[in-house]
Subunit: 393 residues, 2 copies
């Protein structure tokens, strides 16, 4: 096991009756708060008025930043920064998905820096060594940003997504109420849940490095539980236990325990250039790519068969057999069927009316502008990436 450091300081308030604790968390830092959210849907929800009421009845002054985009733009971050600086706000509360939480982290750091522009921090032009307090209230089980210390921001002018990370922007508190995810539609539930699975695949499940018994088996267990509970959450959107399981799983898939001791990179996430290129949901992009990536890797290198076979048996619940290559192919089929039939998601780009015209660009981006993408089971060249994208058609 490689040496590692682990710390996760976020205080989690989990469940139906935790909102009453919000003002105490806020008042640790001051009596002015900025609430960021994605727009009308949240603004008009009972949750939003309950939150505002909880805060205002405790003499906390509420400011509002709406219309945070699904890939939050640096201009939106900067708008929030201006509000925080002008009004002397001490805390930023995100109500929404990973994008809203990421936006708040960026606002928090920039507001305490010398710059009014998050991109100065992203590019390292301005140092930041302080941040406003971030509080997260996720309304979908997905990115796990609520216990994580990084954020991704889009600079549309430059056509780049990048970010900052550090302990200072890890949420001080996260309010995880499964009932806040009841209204997430089936498709978004599926995409969010698949995002959780992809974090687990990428972090340390599908890797050719040594597998540490504790972390590896916990990751496999999380994968199995998500595979079992996600279809329940889709079919029964108000099933509290299924929604609670998904919400807690999302946090744990990204809060650094699972990756402790590992030094791996995320090949599936690098290949997932679909969402930024075609304005798809990130989780859907990952769902389309994963089975094709697995098949491509297995075709090229049958020594990967035991890992994929194990996944099939232990996560997807298929039968085992001595011929691991055969079981591995069946595992890939099982995953594809799961995505299609149980999650109700498209499994090809053709179903979405997307053709191959951007594949060259995507291959370059997938390799971060270099000639190839390292790690996981094998180095993927730009041509490999292109081939995988073609399999997605």
């Amino acid at each position: 096991m490689n040496d590692f450091q682990f710390q996760n300081t976020t205080k989690v308030y989990f469940g139906k009756n935790q909102l009453k604790n919000l003002h105490n968390e806020v008042l640790k830092y001051g009596n002015k708060i900025l609430i960021a959210h994605g727009g009308e849907f949240i603004k008009n929800s009972p949750l939003y008025s309950k939150v505002v009421n909880e805060l205002e009845s405790n003499n906390i002054q509420v400011f509002e930043l709406g219309a945070v985009e699904p890939n939050p733009r640096h201009t939106t971050v900067n708008k929030g920064v201006a509000m925080c600086k002008k009004n002397g706000i001490q805390t930023v509360l995100a109500i929404g998905g990973g994008s809203t939480i990421d936006c708040c982290k960026a606002i928090a750091a920039t507001s305490m820096s010398e710059s009014d522009n998050i991109w100065d921090l992203v590019e390292g032009k301005v140092k930041w060594n302080n941040a406003l307090a971030v509080i997260a209230m996720p309304t979908i089980a997905s990115t796990g940003s609520e216990m994580d210390k990084s954020c991704v921001i889009a600079n549309v002018d430059l056509g780049i997504k990048s970010g900052i990370n550090g302990e200072l922007i890890r949420p001080k508190a996260a309010f995880l109420d499964p009932t806040n995810t009841f209204s997430v539609p089936a498709r978004q539930t599926a995409c969010g849940g698949y995002d959780i699975m992809a974090h687990l695949f990428d972090m340390n499940y599908f890797v050719n490095s040594e597998k540490y018994p504790l972390q590896f088996n916990v990751v496999e267990t999380l994968l199995r539980i998500v595979r079992e509970q996600l279809p329940v959450a889709i079919k029964e959107p108000t099933n509290y236990e299924a929604r609670a399981t998904m919400l807690w799983a999302a946090s744990w898939a990204l809060n650094s325990f699972c990756t402790s001791g590992y030094k791996t990179n995320a090949q599936l996430h690098a290949l997932e250039q679909l969402s930024s290129t075609f304005d798809l949901t990130h989780g859907l992009g990952l769902a389309i790519i994963t089975p094709k990536w697995m098949k491509y890797v297995l075709d090229k290198d049958p020594t990967t068969a035991p890992d994929f076979a194990r996944f099939g048996v232990n996560v997807m619940g298929i039968g085992d057999d001595e011929d691991k290559v055969e079981v591995a192919y069946k595992a890939i089929e099982a995953l594809q069927s799961f995505i299609k039939d149980e999650l109700g998601l498209p499994v090809t780009l053709s179903e979405l009316g997307i053709d191959d015209r951007h594949f060259e660009d995507m291959s370059i981006k997938a390799c971060y502008g270099k000639e190839s993408l390292p790690l996981a089971y094998r180095v993927l060249t730009r041509e490999d990436c292109l081939n995988i994208y073609k399999m997605c058609l």
Copy 2:
């Protein structure tokens, strides 16, 4: 899932080359440190001199409290408190097992209180709302005290073990170096490892309340991994991966993730009056009791069979069968054989030359002086406890 709050702030430095970070953690609080340890074995170890050297070469003044007992006494705590108060010490470092770590937590709280006597804090006579910084360096995989916020102290005058708990005494940092556990003898390794298993049994594995898919399955996975890796650590004491797995498992068995959302009490730990009565190791007491408790519960209530059967199949690796009662009894046998053959521990009190003369007293203590012990699968009366102790002979 019940509502819950979760936070664990301890910074973990895991691995072989982390000692260089110690002085930075210490200097956050001041330049005077008290090192507590169990005695000559630690004092003469290369670890101790390396620690002192790391600290002194960074201008940190080291004070020493040796001879901390296996069940740390309140008088020893008070000795440490006097040293901290007299010398203006800011940090307490524990090098040792759970007892040493617990002792340091008690010293940390008392030293910042108005009393010089930990027992005033235990009895609530003196309030404490501050504490010195605690740093833990466990030398055995066992209690998990290094990421936990409670401590147990023995008052020999009163014949009572009790403690305090609170976020202030949770270790600020924990240095987990698997090589520091290489020299732990086979028997202590076995007892420490079994303590981990018992935490998992008691916290939320053997309970008749609802089982939450995520936490329950992670606990089961941890149990399986400990069952697999503990015999390796016993047979190959310098096997880094096995020792690392055990050390990290110990922390995770007690750091509150596994119990999140559960409201259960610890029946096995209540029954474990053997160690305090007969001066046995706590883990050994738990190992002797568990299979007898399972058999007693199963005999009385065959509806518990599916849970014990599941444990047999998923943790102990025995074959499944339609007759769950039969599988459950086989699971108990498998656990008993594991304790005897793979851990090399005694499974009866007779093997230790212990007879039944203290069983009445123990039954009273197990019920905390009341008529019965609630929770887990069934309420156990004092007579039930007595019957279980008799099965241990």
